[in-house]
Every structure is written in C-alpha cells, then in structure tokens.
C-alpha cells in the first residue's frame, strides 16, 4: 500500500469488552474482532446486509437508551457510545435467538441423514449451540416436491431453505445473473426460477457453497461423501489464468469436489463453475497408465519405462528437435521444458502458444508482459478499463467478477473493442466500440486513457495484425498499464520460464549475449544457442519441410492452432515424444508416449495473469504418475546430459534464484493492420471466441456442467438479417473452402460485416470445421 487510508475509529462495548473498529463496521463483525461468535445464516461479509434470517439478534443500547427489542446485529453499524449484549451476557438476546431457531426449524425437514450438507451444516451446528434439544412443534411440516433441478448442475430442496437470500443476493450482486429470486410470501415463500430460464449462471456453484443449509446442492456431488470421508488439500485452479485459490476434496484417491478458497487479493471467496465442477478428466477411464513405444511394425505398444526413455532419448538425439509445450504446464514443468530445449536439444525452438499466435505477440510478450505486474488491485483502483481481444466473463471469469464489483461499487467505466457485444460486457454496462474483425488496431489507437487506466489484453489480440503494436503505443502515450490475460493457466508461467523462442527464463532476451551468459552460468553450461527460436506454426512448417526431424510435445492439442492440417502432418512425419495424461491427436501420432501426472497428482505452481505464484500440493498422494519435470530429467539423463532438476522444489528454488532482468528488454517492432477485405452479398468476416463452458479437453465427462453451457448460435446484425431475410432461430450455413457449420441464427448487436459463432462448442468447432476463427472471409447462406 502506497497511501495510508485515514479511517474514523469507533469504540463500542460488546459483552463488557471494549473494541475499536472503523466507522461503518457492522455489530456482528465488531463482535468477531473480540472472538464473540453471534449465530447467523444470512450474513456474509461480501454480500450486502439484508437481515433476513433474524438469527443474530442482540441487545443494543446507545448512550444509555436501549432499543426496545433485540436487533439484528448483521444490519446495524457501530455507533459511538454503543453497548451491545450478545447471547452470552443478555438473557433477552439468548431467548430471542433460541426463539428464532425454533421458528426456523418448524418447517425444516428432519432429513439430515440424507442431506449432502449434513456434517458441515451451519443450521445443524447452530441448532446444537443455540437451539432446544426437544421440539415442541406437533403440527404437520410444510412440504414441497424435492429436489428440483434449477439447472442441470444445481438442485433445489425448498423444504430445507431458511430464506436467508444468500443465493439470490450472490446472483444479483456478485455475478449479475439474477436468475433466481424469492417467490411467494409467508410460509410458502421459496427460492425459484422463472420457468423458462433455468439458473444458467457461470457462477452458480458459489450459491451452492454459501447456502447455509442443504437447500442448494450440486448434482455431481449428490450423495457422494460426508465431510469426514474427505481429505482436503488447498490447491490452485488449473482451468484459467485467473488463479483462483481452491480446495480439493479427495476420497480414496478420487477427487469428489472442489470448492472456492478464500483469497481476498485474488478470487475473494468465489470461483466459476468450470473450476468447481470440471475435474473428472483426471479420473477418466482412458488415462494413459504405461509408456507406449511404436514398434517396427508401426504399432504403439506398451513398454517399460527404461525402454521408453531410451527410445525417446535416441529419437531426440538422432535429428534436430523442437519443443512444443501447451499452455497448461505448471511454472516448474514449463521451466523444465525450457531448460531441456536449451541444454539437451541445444535449440531455442520452443513455444508454449499452442493456439493462434503471431510474431507480433511474441515481441509484445517479451517487450511488455514478461516480468510485469499489473494486479487485481490495479483494477480496483483504475479509472477506466479497456478490453482488447478479451471477454472477461468467458475467458477469465474472476477478472469479470472484479470488474463487476467495481462497476457496482463506483460505476467503473469499461470499454471493449470488439465486433460483437457480449453478455458479460452488457452486464458491466460497458462502452461497445464496434469494429470489423481484423480492424481493431485503429480503434485501440483512438482511445483516450489516463495513467490510472488499465488495458486488459486477451490472447485473441494476436489474431488481428497491428493490435498489440497499437496497445503498446497507447500505453506509451497515456501511461496506462497493460495486463495480458491469456486463457490458459500455464501461459504466464511458461512465458516467465522462457518456453518461447525469443526469451530465456526470467525474461532474459535470447538475442542478448549477457543474458545468455547469465543463464548459462546458472545452468553450468558452456554456452546457450543464440538464434531466435521458431514459433509453433514455424516449427510445424519446419518439420514438414524437413528442417526439424523430432518433436517433444507436452499437453498440446494440434487442432487449437491456426493450421491444424499442417500440425497433424508434422506430427505424422516427425519423431514425436509425447508427454500426456490421456490419448489425444498427438499420442496417436507419437513414437514414444510417456504418461504424466495430472495437476491433482503433483505439486507445483501456476503464475496467474498478474504473475502471482499460485502454489499447490498434490491432492492425491498415492498416484504413481510422475510430473513432466521428473520425466524430462530422466530423458535428459538418458541423453547424457543433466537438468539438475530432480524435484519440483529444486526447480522452484532454481527459478527463484534467477531474479529479475535489469538489462535491455526486447524492442517491439511496428506491425501494421491488414486491409479490410471487400465483401459482397453473402460474404461475412468470421469472428469468435471460446466460451467458458464448451468442448474443452478438461471438461470431458462433465455432463451436468455442460448442461449450463450457453446455446450455440451464429450471431448476425439486424440490418444484415433484414437484407438476408433471417430471423432468430433460422439455420445459417457458414462455409469456407475447408468445410462448413450450420447454426441457428441470433440477431444481436454485432458489426454489419461480421458473423460470430462460438469457437469450440458443440456443433461449432470452427478451427476444425472451417479452419478459421477470426478475420477470415466466410460465405453465409440461409437454409
């Protein structure tokens, strides 16, 4: 903190003890400072006070004048001269609390034995501490049909609800997805959804987590375990670059659920549904368990580890080799790949960007991103946020929650430069700068920002030439901070680890001889390769032209890139050593396949978009799978060199010893945008992004989760729809020379030249079906 905030302190007496708290603090929170626990259900520190459950009644007296009746301590802020008596010192407060508890339990069913919340239920616990031991109620309890699905992944049991409104307040205030509300009045009051709109929020899992009873439960965790069965491990989310703190609950070596952890500086207490409910890929039946080696007949057969390692080493040594590491490796694993490329393969041909990327992006990352530290706190203090090639709700949901918090609190101005107005930006009431796909650069340059502004740049900014050049120039001219927010959790870590052709670990430029000496000394190597390495696309092309003969591939989907055909051909042609958890397009074409540990089975860390380390330990301890780092060390030994990275801890230590680079950074070249293509009649320019819930590899087998994915549609503008005679729901066939997809039309706010479709959703896998994702001209026909 650079500035000290001056706050008025108010002193109150609670149960005879004096406590000083900042002005505006609620009584219940002041009592917590003293360690006095007042029972509560509706109160939540991150939600607005509501006083719905009445469980936290206390006696309050201000300057000698007492309130006539007990008051809800969760809605009353402290005042000077206030004397509070809680249930511990006031008989009246204690009786009032007991009475409220008795009323809450009147209609609460006695189904604790079958309730998922049983054993970790605030109502159970507080009924024990505050309730009566015997019921006096002899009537018939109110019943409802139970349970009902309010979405494919959330179940609602209305009998259990104590009407605390935590779920509805979360949905309205934090997620801005007001799909659930309290209906009816009196004894029949109940949480409900509009019958035509299920609870399709990307954040619905948080409502389940903060429900103080078992009224909202998750469909995938239903009846799976009790709290005492579970071994909990603090962990970090591997799904996106937001960097959520998580808790992984494991029963007998199997992950049963994941909960949002509490980290005030990152995810507060929230996470998204993908982070919470997409973990079955780890226990999928098709996990690789044994090394596979291609035999003389050309078949992949199971082999022993020594055999497989020897085959891998031999193949990598025999030809010039390159390394492709997907964006999902941990920081330590990426460092292992980076060091392996330089030491064992003597090449800078390594790239973590297994997606559409550009040389402009590589320059931008080296010049502006590596080593930088824009944080969530900067968003909290920004006067304006500019989104470039970035959809926060779909691509980094916690960034969206933070923007939304600031928007609700102080109407933070958000501007997006995009072709299509998204639901997320609409919720933020963002300014929509409408541009044709591929023409974003000019609009970026035209933005007026200040030194307190932030430019959030997504990985899709690399898909239009000139955009990142314009972003860098805008930052230089206005002083606005840049934050690069990739979609995948490992990309920032891989960048810092030098898993890219123009950088060594610690942001040291390959072209700088002092930087090379720096790292060579650390590694005990005589010298390091000095030519700038190739990018992913160039590596595939070099394989196809014969310049590269072998590939080391870890966690890559070749169809994520701009040229899938070329990638598959290269994998077919080269000698491929693949480190993977499950069979994929790469393993089927590989010559040696080595199974590796999934995130839950190993320790390590991810660097989130801020560059903040998110450390985690292995949640499943009895796994036989080894980390990528361990296997790379073994291959290196087999090749006759040593990485000296026997464990994750030693890798982390070595990374920490590198330190920041104080030499000159890579200078960014100027790239200019391309001309807008000429369009006529049925021609459109394609634009797209990946949705949070789609066909991603890590969401395999999560049917409940997939049920809340947004509808797959093709979006066109009202004027083009009118001229083509298209209305909502009509089928549109979008085609390129490679293929076509047919989707239902949705007429929405989008640039007239553009057509939008989800990039990797069911029925719309653009990179596979069309071979294009953004900026390409497509033909659209109504059918």
């Amino acid at each position: 903190m650079t500035t000290t905030e001056i706050v008025d302190m108010i002193t109150v007496i609670i149960d005879g003890f004096e406590v000083s708290v900042p002005k505006g603090t609620l009584v219940i929170r002041a009592a917590e400072q003293l360690g006095i626990q007042i029972p509560r259900f509706c109160d939540h520190p991150l939600l607005d006070p509501v006083g719905a459950c009445r469980q936290c009644l206390v006696d309050i007296e201000i300057n000698g004048r007492a309130f006539p009746k007990p008051q809800a301590s969760c809605t009353i802020p402290v005042e000077p001269g206030m004397i509070v008596k809680t249930q511990l010192t006031s008989v009246v407060a204690d009786k009032a609390q007991k009475g409220v508890m008795e009323l809450l339990l009147i209609n609460h069913p006695l189904d604790c034995p079958v309730c998922d919340k049983g054993g970790e239920c605030p109502l159970q616990n507080q009924a024990m501490s505050t309730g009566r031991s015997q019921t006096r109620f002899e009537g018939v309890k109110r019943t409802f049909e139970k349970p009902i699905n309010i979405s494919s992944q959330v179940l609602l049991d209305r009998e259990r609800c104590v009407l605390c409104a935590r779920c509805t307040r979360f949905s309205a205030q934090i997620a801005s997805d007001p799909f659930i509300t309290l209906n009816e009045r009196g004894a029949l009051q109940q949480v409900g959804i509009y019958e035509k709109a299920p609870f399709k929020s990307y954040f619905s899992g948080n409502a389940v987590q903060i429900c103080p009873v078992g009224a909202l439960t998750g469909a995938s965790y239903r009846f799976r375990a009790r709290p005492f069965d579970l071994v909990s491990t603090p962990s970090a989310c591997e799904h996106c670059a937001s960097g959520c703190d998580m808790r992984t609950d494991v029963r007998r070596g199997k992950t049963l659920r994941r909960l949002a952890g509490d980290d005030a500086s990152v995810n507060e207490e929230w996470n998204c549904d993908k982070g919470r409910w997409a973990f079955k890929y780890v226990t999928a039946v098709d996990r690789l368990t044994h090394p596979l080696v291609r035999n003389d007949a050309g078949d992949l057969v199971e082999a022993s580890w020594p055999e497989a390692l020897a085959a891998a080493a031999k193949g990598l040594k025999a030809a010039s080799a390159a390394v492709l590491v997907g964006g999902r490796a941990t920081h330590e694993d990426a460092y292992g790949y980076s060091k392996f490329a330089r030491i064992a393969l003597s090449t800078n041909d390594i790239d973590f960007r297994s997606r559409i990327s550009s040389d402009e992006e590589r320059d931008f990352l080296a010049a502006r991103v590596v080593g930088s530290s824009t944080t969530y706190r900067d968003i909290d203090r920004a006067d304006q946020v500019l989104l470039v090639g970035f959809e926060p709700e779909e691509e980094s949901p916690i960034v969206f929650l933070r923007l939304n918090k600031q928007f609700r609190k102080r109407a933070l101005k958000v501007t997006t430069i995009s072709s299509k107005l998204s639901i997320g930006v609409e919720k933020l009431n963002g300014e929509f700068v409408k541009v044709a796909p591929g023409q974003e650069a000019a609009s970026v340059s035209a933005q007026a920002l200040t030194a307190q502004s932030i430019i959030l740049v997504g990985e899709r900014a690399s898909e239009s030439a000139g955009v990142l050049t314009a972003v860098a120039a805008l930052s230089d001219s206005t002083g606005a901070k840049i934050a690069w927010i990739p979609r995948r959790a490992g990309e920032r870590g891989a960048l810092e680890a030098g898993a890219i052709g123009n950088l060594l670990p610690g942001g040291r430029p390959v072209a700088d001889s002092a930087a090379r000496v720096d790292i060579a000394t650390l590694w005990g190597a005589s010298s390091l390769p000095s030519t700038i390495g190739r990018s992913s696309d160039e590596i595939y092309a070099a394989v196809n032209s014969g310049a590269i003969g072998a590939l080391l591939v870890g966690g890559v989907d070749p169809l994520d890139g701009a040229n899938g055909e070329s990638a598959l051909a290269a994998l077919e042609k080269a000698f491929v050593v693949c480190l993977e958890i499950a069979p994929s397009e790469v393993t089927s074409r590989a010559d040696v396949v080595l199974p590796v540990a999934a995130v839950t089975e190993k320790s390590g860390s991810f660097l989130n978009w801020e560059g903040r380390a998110r450390k985690f330990d292995a949640a499943v301890h009895d796994s036989l799978n080894r980390s990528d780092l361990r296997i790379l060390s073994m291959i290196a030994e087999e090749m006759g060199t040593s990485l000296n990275l026997s464990t994750v801890t030693s890798a982390a230590k070595e990374i920490a010893s590198i330190g920041a680079w104080d030499g000159a950074r890579v200078q960014m070249q100027q790239y200019s945008s391309t001309q807008s293509p000429a369009l006529n009649g049925d021609r459109f320019i394609l634009t797209s992004w990946r949705r949070l819930l789609d066909l991603g590899t890590l969401q395999k087998g999560e049917e409940n989760l997939a049920g809340t994915a947004r509808q797959t549609v093709a979006v066109i503008s009202p004027s083009r729809a009118l001229s083509m005679g298209v209305s909502d729901g009509d089928l549109l066939k979008i085609s390129t020379v490679q293929g076509s997809v047919t989707l239902a039309a949705l007429v929405e706010d989008i640039h007239d030249d553009a057509i939008w479709a989800p990039r990797n959703s069911r029925g719309s896998q653009l990179l596979v079906n069309l071979g294009a994702a953004h900026g390409a001209v497509v033909t659209v026909v109504k059918i």
Partner: protein, 203 residues
C-alpha cells in the same frame, strides 16, 4: 511412535539396570496340594459346562453382538439410506459406505438415497454396537452369529450382499417401486406391511 523414539534416545543399557533380590514362595505343602486337587475332583460330580464345539453349538445371549445385518422393509426395499452415520460413529473405522440416488427405474430404498456400497471390515470391527445406535432407520442391526473366522483379509471385508437380510414372505427383491400411495414416512412408520402386486416389476 514418539514415545518409542524418546525411549531409544535415552540410551538405556540393560547392563546398567540394577537387580534386586525378591523372596519367592517355596513349593506348597501336602495340605496345600490336596486343597487344590479337591477342587478338580469335586467338579467330576457336577453338571458339565463345556460343549463339543463345533459339533455342538450353545446359543448365545439374546443381545449378543454378532455379525451385522442390513434389514429390509416388509416389501423388500432396503432400509439403508447410505447416510454413513454408522461409518461416522464407528470407533474402529471398520465401515465404508457410498450413497447414491434412487431413481424411478432403480429404486433400492424408499426416499431419495440408498447405500450403493456398504462394507464392514471384520478385521477391524470391535462389535461395540455404536453403529447400531447411530442408524437412523434401524437398517443396521446385529445378529447373534459369531463364527467370523476366515483365511484371508479380503474374505473378512463383508460386502452389501453378504450383510443384507434374507427375503422373507411378502418381500420382493429390489429394485422395485414403492408401495402405491405410500412415501418414505409411511415406510418408517411401519405402515407398509408387505409388497403390493403392482410392485412386482418382473411379473
């Protein structure tokens, strides 16, 4: 563990322990020996208490804690709801339960939930009966069966099918639907006394 280690660390040397002389009683005199043998001799004329086990098996006390049984409702549905309270109560961690969802096609018990996996490890069980006290549906009780010896560890982990009570007259093998117009509360109140013909889905 730590106690053993600290003991080792103290470096106890057996040679340094001091021994002291203790007075031992000598052999009994004639009177003493005769008194002892008289007890043996007099038993010859009394009723025999030992039985020729295993040819003869004496009945246990009625409330003897023997092997567990998972009971059924009178129509054959299982009483176990998979709540794991038995496992929670078990001081020896001998019980493993996994619950699952009852569906219309696959109903094993009345209500929402049934015990999909139910294991008792008789190498661990101390027959204290706390699980029986914990069971909210009287699904788990103990029988008087005490012959629980076997030659492998695996055989002494009893699965659900080993523990389930037999199908008696009027019972149907689950899965089958609940008795018409009855809900789980009616079942717990004992208002279902036998299976209804409509429950027999195999008929």
């Amino acid at each position: 563990m730590s106690e053993i280690e600290s003991f080792k660390n103290n470096d106890v040397d057996i040679k340094k322990v001091e021994f002291s002389q203790v007075d031992q009683p000598g052999s009994a005199g004639f009177y003493g020996q005769a008194k002892g043998f008289w007890v043996t001799f007099s038993k010859i004329f009394k009723k025999t208490l030992t039985v020729e086990y295993p040819e003869v098996k004496a009945p246990t006390q009625e409330r003897f804690h023997g092997r567990h049984q998972l009971n059924r409702h009178p129509d054959g549905l299982e009483k176990c709801i998979g709540c794991e309270l038995c496992a929670w109560a078990c001081p020896a961690d001998a019980i493993y339960v996994e619950g699952a969802d009852n569906t219309e096609e696959n109903r094993m018990s009345p209500g929402e939930r049934y015990g999909k996996v139910y294991q008792i490890n008789y190498l661990r069980c101390v027959f204290c009966g706390l699980c029986i006290e914990a069971c909210p549906t009287r699904a788990l009780t103990m029988t008087n069966e005490y012959e629980l010896a076997d030659d492998s560890r695996e055989k002494l982990i009893f699965e659900k099918e080993d523990l389930l009570g037999p199908l008696r007259a009027g019972m149907l093998m689950p899965p089958h639907p609940m008795y018409p117009d009855m809900n789980d509360t009616n079942y717990y109140k004992g208002e279902v006394t036998q299976a209804h013909p409509s429950q027999d889905v195999n008929k």
